[in-house]
Structure formats: C-alpha cells, structure tokens
C-alpha cells in the first residue's frame, strides 16, 4: 500500500465507514469535520480531526480549496471524498491531483465525462449499450422524460405525457437546469411505464482489470430517491443478469473507468429489455448490500485501487451468496409530507441480530443538524434468501429505538410487510402509488 494517510472529506455514516476501512488496511485517517461534527463518532474514530469550517456545507464540506489545504497541512497523501458533497466534482479531483494528492475515485476526465449525461449516453451507444430513444420528441415518442445533461441522481427530471405539454415543460426544464446545474442542455428519454431501477457495481484497477460485482435493485423510490435497495435483483433471469454485468463492464472499459463505480440501467419490466441510464463515479450509499452478498469490502477496494494495487479478486472469483436488503432510516416525517425533522436524538439503539449490519453515525445524544441530508442509518440484512432478509430487517426495525426526531421507520416496516413488495420485482412508481395506503397503516 503506497498510501499511508488518508484525508476523509465527508461526514456522517460514510465518514465512519471510511475511517474503519483505513484501520483495516493499517492506513491513518484524518477527518475534516465541520464545527458541528467535531465530536461525531467518525471524529472519535479518526487518528486526527481538523475543523474545516462552520456547519453549513457551503462553508465546509463543499470548499475544495480548504479540503485540499487541510489534507496537505496534515500530511495526507490521499483524499477520500465519500458520496455526495464533492465526490463527483471533477475540479476537486483535479485540484487534489495538482497538489500531488491521490483522489480516491476515477480521474477528473472520467468524472467530467460521466457527469455530462449526454456525453455518457453517446459513449454508452459506442460501447454497444441500448439507451432510451434519442433525438427529438417524434423519434422518442410519448410519454417521455426531459432530463438535464448536468443532472443525474434523479435531479432535474420532468415527465411529459403528450405533445401539448412538451413546449412549456421543455423551457421550464431548461431554465431550471440552468440555475441548478449551470448547464441548460436537456435531452429526451422514452418513459418506461413499468420500470425497474437496476444498477451494476463495477471495480476497475490501474492495471486494466475491470470486474462486475453483481447488481442491485433500487426500484423502491420516492421522487427518484432510493428508499430500499437489494441484491440480487429479485426474479431476474440469469441471462439478463449476465448481460447487465457485461454491458456495465463494456461501458467502464469504453470510458477508461478507474476505481469502484456504478452503472445504472432502467429495466423494462414488461419486455425484460434494459437501457443505460448513467454512471456514478463514487461509492454509493447502498454499497453494503453488494458487500454483504459478495463478501468484498468495497471501500478497502477503493483504497487499494487508488494506491495502484491490483483488484483483490478476479471476475471468476465473484460469488453472490444469499440475499441482502438495505433500508435508509431518515429523519423525515412521512405523515407531514416527508418534512425533514432535525433535532437531538435522546436515545438511539438497534438490536444486535445475526445477519444485521448497521451503518450509522447516530448514538444517544446525537444532534441531527439542519445543514445536511436526513440519513440517520442504513440497516442492512443479509439472509440465506430474500424472505429471510426481510424477516431480519423487519425485526431490526421493530426493535429500533430512535427518540427525539421523527423518522420514516414505520413506513419502512410497512413496505417490508407489504404483499406486493414481498412478491418481489416492484417498479419505480410502486412506492408512490402505494404510499397513501401504507401511510394509513402507519397512522393506524
């Protein structure tokens, strides 16, 4: 390992996750924390913590220059950006590289290409992947989605039902994209009514090896944000699974991808066809389900790749064992339109169950600051099959104690207990459709 000390430029559960991976590899971890995060579990676990600024992320976790200065000033040789914040900022990755720091992620050129959703689609086509339509509305057909070229991750998407709506929504999408992403370009995508969100975890080292570590099904979404993720995808034919993994590897090779990443697809539940959506150049929130079923520590893998070491396993050695499901516990109140609920957690406890993993930064007395996203914990159950994983996760939610802030716990439990969810293979619009009935259950 040529990396001796890593600067962790993130917070919350992922910061703690990265610090632990550094420990595992015998690498020192320096955490850059905002003022309100100076006494977090990640700060206590790190070898050193430095205060990078006040609470609001614009003055701390989003300050590229401050983070690079902090990494250099504390003698780090690498920066791990986690997810969110600057994890997919090409200028940040470039800045780190200019100053001789290893950026734990793909090179800035790759981040830039993948971040431009139009260019990424072009590359996908060149790599032989199918995309959802292209060109103008008459070629794509209705209904269709208008997406921002600079968007991604579910942001900046508009559904257009017919030609009559197109003009107004197109200009609205352009102006919103301009103000949100500084890029007015939009593109049209065929809308798949019964769509499943399936993504493939890839890993690519500096020596040219690219492997796929199976897929994840993230179809349980609300407003394009993932709520529950699992691996493997339920009811997927082996031939489709293999084709998805091959497509993801082909795309990663085509754009000279490095480090771990995710290639996202939309799978038409009616026809079984799948289409390239986008590529995410970071460790994903839902990476633990892949870790559970493959036994591969993806954050350790990231650090090894960044240090120039070969992947720890070859494609032939990738095995998927059992079934894993993750749910995201958030400080949001489903009964009040999912309004964020910051505040102090008086008590936080999760039962210790065989097969349960909990990634969290919460404990008794944790203050959920209003500056950051509402994720409190990820509960990951690994069972011998899907039903077993659901049983473990349901028991975990039932035994969970989180007093002081409102959470989506009861809603998550309702989803897991739902007959349609249990039957497997729900689509991306299922949760929103089922929400009124599920919430009635919560209120009852």
């Amino acid at each position: 390992m040529t990396i001796a000390r890593v600067f962790v430029a993130n917070r919350g559960e992922i910061a703690l996750r990265i610090v632990r991976a550094c420990r595992e590899l015998g690498v020192e971890a320096v955490l850059g924390a905002s003022e309100v995060d100076m006494f977090s579990p990640a700060a206590r676990a790190a070898d050193r913590v430095v205060c990078i600024g006040p609470g609001p992320s614009a003055q701390s976790y989003l300050r590229a220059d401050t983070l690079v200065a902090a990494a250099l000033g504390t003698g780090c040789d690498a920066i791990h950006p986690g997810y969110g914040f600057l994890s997919e900022s090409a200028p940040f990755a470039a800045r780190a590289r200019e100053h001789g720091l290893v950026f734990v992620g793909p090179p800035p050129e790759v981040i830039e290409l993948a971040g431009d959703k139009l260019r990424a689609r072009e590359e996908a086509v060149l790599a032989g992947l199918a995309v959802l339509g292209g060109g103008d509305a008459s070629e794509v057909g209705f209904p269709l989605l208008v997406k921002a070229a600079g968007g991604g991750g579910g942001r900046g998407i508009k559904l257009v039902r017919d030609a009559g709506e197109l003009g107004a929504l197109l200009s609205l999408a352009r102006s919103e994209a301009g103000s949100a992403f500084g890029d007015e370009r939009v593109y049209l995508e065929r809308f798949v009514a019964a769509a499943r969100h399936i993504e493939v975890q890839v890993a690519a080292d500096e020596l040219g090896s690219v492997i796929a570590l199976g897929e994840r099904d993230c179809s349980v979404q609300r407003r394009y944000q993932k709520v529950i993720e699992e691996s493997p995808a339920p009811g997927l034919p082996d031939a489709t699974r293999d084709a998805l993994c091959e497509a993801a590897i082909a795309f990663a090779r085509r754009i000279s991808y490095r480090n771990v990443g995710t290639v996202e697809f939309v799978l038409d539940a009616a026809s079984g066809e799948f289409f390239f959506l986008e590529c995410n150049c970071r460790i994903q929130v839902e990476h633990p389900v892949t870790e559970a079923v493959t036994g591969v520590d993806l954050v350790c893998e990231q650090l090894r790749i960044a240090a120039g070491d070969p992947l720890s396993l070859a494609q032939e050695a990738v095995r998927v064992d059992g079934h894993a499901i993750e749910c995201r516990l958030t400080a949001e109140d489903p009964e009040r339109g999912f309004q964020p609920s910051p505040g102090r957690i008086a008590r936080f406890a999760v039962p210790a169950l065989p097969g349960l993993r909990v990634d969290t930064h919460c404990e008794d007395g944790t203050f959920v600051a209003p500056y950051y996203d509402s994720l409190l914990a990820k509960l990951i159950a690994h069972g011998r099959d899907r039903a077993h994983a659901i049983t473990i996760l349901s028991a975990a939610l039932e035994g969970l104690e989180c007093d002081g802030v409102r959470t989506n716990r009861d809603l998550l439990a309702r989803v897991l207990a739902d007959g349609e969810y249990a039957a497997g293979a729900v689509t991306t619009t299922w949760l929103e459709g089922a929400l009124p009935a599920l919430l009635e259950g919560v209120a009852a």
């Binding site: 600024g53 401050t66 200065a69 000033g73 504390t74």
Partner: protein, 153 residues
C-alpha cells in the same frame, strides 16, 4: 455576529431566573461572561460598530457589574478559516503584531492562506495582545485561537 443590547438584557434575565451560577458565551468577535451572586460580568469585546458599551453596563441586574476584563482570560482571536497561518507579510518581514501590541478591530494580526489565497485576519477587537497562540507557517483550523487579547476600552 454581535449581540444587541436587547440580547444581552435577555441573557441576563434568563440567567437571573435560572439556577445557573455562571454563563459564558463566545462567538465571532464577541464574548460574554456572566457570573451571579455579586460577581462580575465581563462583556468582551465591543465590536467597533457598537455605539458604546454604556447601555449594557446600565442594565446591572441584581447587583452584578459590567467591567472591562482585567487580568485573566481575555478574548481570543480565532482563525476565521482553515489554512496556513502567517504572522508576517513575508519571510524576513516583521510580524503584524506581537505580545504587547495594541490592536483595534480593523488591525491585521495575521494571514491565513488557503491554496495561495491570502486572507488577512482582522483583530475584530480592541486591546493588547497578551499571547500568541498559533505558530507561524503552521496549519490552523477553523475556530482555532490565534491570539489572546486583553480587552481595553
């Protein structure tokens, strides 16, 4: 931020009606130290824009007094951002301030460099430098004490 007279009155009212014996509030360029039971209240420092500390002194609840800080803790000038701290404009140049230097709120006491961007640090308070808390050319964190100042009118 600074506290208004009304804020200070409110704080005094709260502490007066609470079982607390002592209260210390510090924020950017402002520190307030209140002790009950005939002790003293230190309101430090007064931001330059403030018309006069007199209104605060006039509040005097339950026998407490407002006094300028005497010997003791003084006020901390904290680093406004993370970066490399420089005490002088360049190598071989005299430091902006040293122990015993008199500073006004606008006095530059140092520079914090972040990626070649030089950010001068104003004292933000009036008084005399009592202690230099950070070393030249070292990394300083956001909020880290750079100097300790003995407050003066």
């Amino acid at each position: 931020m600074g506290l208004s007279d009304e804020d200070v009155r409110e704080i005094l009212r709260i502490i007066d009606s609470s079982p607390l014996e002592e209260l210390r509030i510090e924020s950017e360029g402002f520190a307030l130290h209140v002790r009950k039971g005939g002790g003293l209240i230190e309101a430090l420092p007064e931001p330059a824009e403030r018309p006069s500390p007199a209104p605060v002194a006039a509040v005097e609840p339950s026998g407490a007094a407002v006094l300028p800080s005497g010997a003791g803790e003084g006020v901390v000038i904290a680093s406004p951002l993370l970066g490399t701290f420089y005490r002088a404009e360049g190598p071989g140049r005299p430091p902006f301030v040293d122990v015993g230097s008199r500073v006004e709120p606008g006095t530059t006491v140092g520079i914090v460099e972040v990626m070649k961007m030089m950010n001068s640090v104003p004292a933000g308070v009036s008084g005399v430098i009592e202690e230099v808390c950070a070393e030249n050319a070292q990394l300083v964190e956001y909020g880290q004490p750079l100097f300790r100042v003995r407050g003066g009118p």
